[in-house]
Amino acid sequence: MKPRFEQGYWLVLEVVVGIAMAFLLLPLIFVALNSIGPAGLAYFPPPEFSISSYTTIPVKWLWSTLAAIGLGLSSTAGGAVLGTLAALALARGGLRARGLVESLCRSPLQIPSLVLGVAFLQFYSWAALSGGPDLRGSYMGLAIAHTAVATPFVMVVVLARLKKFDWYLEEAAQGLGASPMQTFVMVTLPIIAPAVLSGCFFAFLLSIDNVPLSLFLVGAGQPLLPVDLFNSIQFDLTRTVYAVSTIVSAITTVVVATAFRRLTSVFAASG
């Protein structure tokens, strides 16, 4: 009796996990299937095989992709600097109100992006009405909000790395005559650089797909990929949207597969 019972366990595990994987892949497969066919209104199955939905993608999608990448890169760069500084100060600074400061820096991660979007919208319209700069519908306004969200992402990963940091390395460098700046650039920074890059990777991925934060802050007609896709799906769902989405998911897959080793080592380290 027992062996069959044991086999049942592994069979159930295989089947449940297999179904879960199919569930994860299914919608992406259907996005790709729907993208193949003549440009125009999408329905399934497509009437004929054609790649014209790809060859007729309007150039505006290129601009909105570049805008999203530019916003992601600039806010990630800002978040990398601010997040690393915050992590160094929290790990090494011996701050008195450490707990308070840390939860303050973490708060953009915990408040829903939708709420941050609403808050920044109301902030910018108050600033404009009070005679300040009008940041509504500008990339500057978007970048300010996205940087605030990117900062804790980098901070959390770097902070986890610094918990295992051997601070005697810094003392050794200074004992050997290195200046504080030399110590930081030649000893500390190279050691934490992989953690900074991993944090940047997550921050960039989040920024480039953050609809609820951007939706309130983009102006009418201002190109930005996730918001343009979001609006097109709701109001103008053509095969072009499927083609663009397929390209986006293909690029994501390639990027993740390339970064996979680094990602898994980060997950192992954070656990």
Partner: protein
């Protein structure tokens, strides 16, 4: 560098966050106490009228209740799918297990907009499900799936399973293999080992992943908005409508404030739960 140099570094992020996020949160909290004069204009008289409306009009409580129910169902289904995945990845290091891990990690990085589009393509009136049912003459008119809570729950589960697995994975991975072997050596079947050893030892991960997923689900906007198709109403969609359609900034701020309190409450209780489960010697 010495400690006081490092301590000074905190001023850059603190000043940045205070001047951007801090001011934004202040303005929006103040707006929640003002009243709307319609079309985005605000009357600057302090009152609790928005909060009174929130309590007296049962519509808001209904939407909030619906959002909590949907989030709860999503968490339960996500847990039931994620625990087997985490246990599978813990047990096997085959090529298939590696592919599964790549699928989970790639899914977690995949655009939520694209993933919701996938569900729309499957569930819409001209989609494969309705097409198949029509071809089999089981239905005459297509079943409207978009806009139902079922569609939203499916999309949200799809959105959160990767996050759930990646939160749970380190915990199941850390379970000592000798404990499992000891249970088997003492004559426990695989099922007994699962229920008396693996699940209890996965509990810290299950609890924190569930709370994180619940908090993220309550605040999720992209997936519900796309799969609601203008029909279903959840709390985040309500906030977006107040801010962008009705242009009632004070009411949007009030609703967003309520959502934030709920989400932060859940997040903090998940942190407290993590501390509770943390082994004493590791503190």
């Amino acid at each position: 560098m010495s400690r006081h140099v490092y301590a000074r570094l905190i001023w850059a992020p603190i000043l940045y966050l205070a001047l951007s996020l801090g001011v934004a949160v202040f303005i929006f909290l103040r707006n929640s106490l003002y009243t709307s004069a319609g079309f985005g204009s605000i009357v600057a008289t302090v009152s609790a009228s928005n909060f009174q409306k929130l309590v007296s009009d049962s519509y808001y409580a209904e939407v909030l209740g619906e959002t909590i129910l949907v989030s709860f169902i999503v968490v339960v289904i996500s847990a039931c799918l994620s625990l087997p995945i985490a246990l599978y990845l813990r047990h096997f290091s085959t090529a298939r297990a590696r592919i599964y891990l790549v699928i989970v990690v790639a899914s977690s990085a995949m655009s939520l907009v694209v993933r919701a589009l996938g569900w729309i393509s499957i569930m819409n009136d001209n989609g494969p499900i309705n097409g198949l049912l029509k071809a089999l003459h089981l239905i005459e008119t297509p079943i409207a799936m978009i806009g139902t809570n079922g569609a939203i729950i499916t999309g949200l589960v799809h959105g959160f399973v990767p996050v759930f697995v990646l939160t749970l994975f380190p915990v199941t991975q850390a379970i000592d293999r000798s404990v499992e072997q000891a249970a088997e050596g003492l004559g426990a079947s695989r099922w007994q080992t699962l229920f008396t050893v693996l699940i209890p030892l996965s509990m810290p991960g299950l609890v924190s992943a569930s709370l994180i997923t619940f908090a993220m689900c309550m605040g999720a906007y992209t997936t519900p908005a796309l799969l609601a198709g203008g029909k279903a109403m959840l709390f985040p969609i309500l906030i977006q409508q107040q801010a962008m359609v009705v242009l009632n900034y004070p009411m949007a701020a009030t609703l967003a404030f309520v959502l934030t309190i709920i989400v932060l409450g859940i997040t903090w209780s998940s942190l407290a739960a993590a501390r509770y489960f943390e082994p004493k010697e590791a503190r």
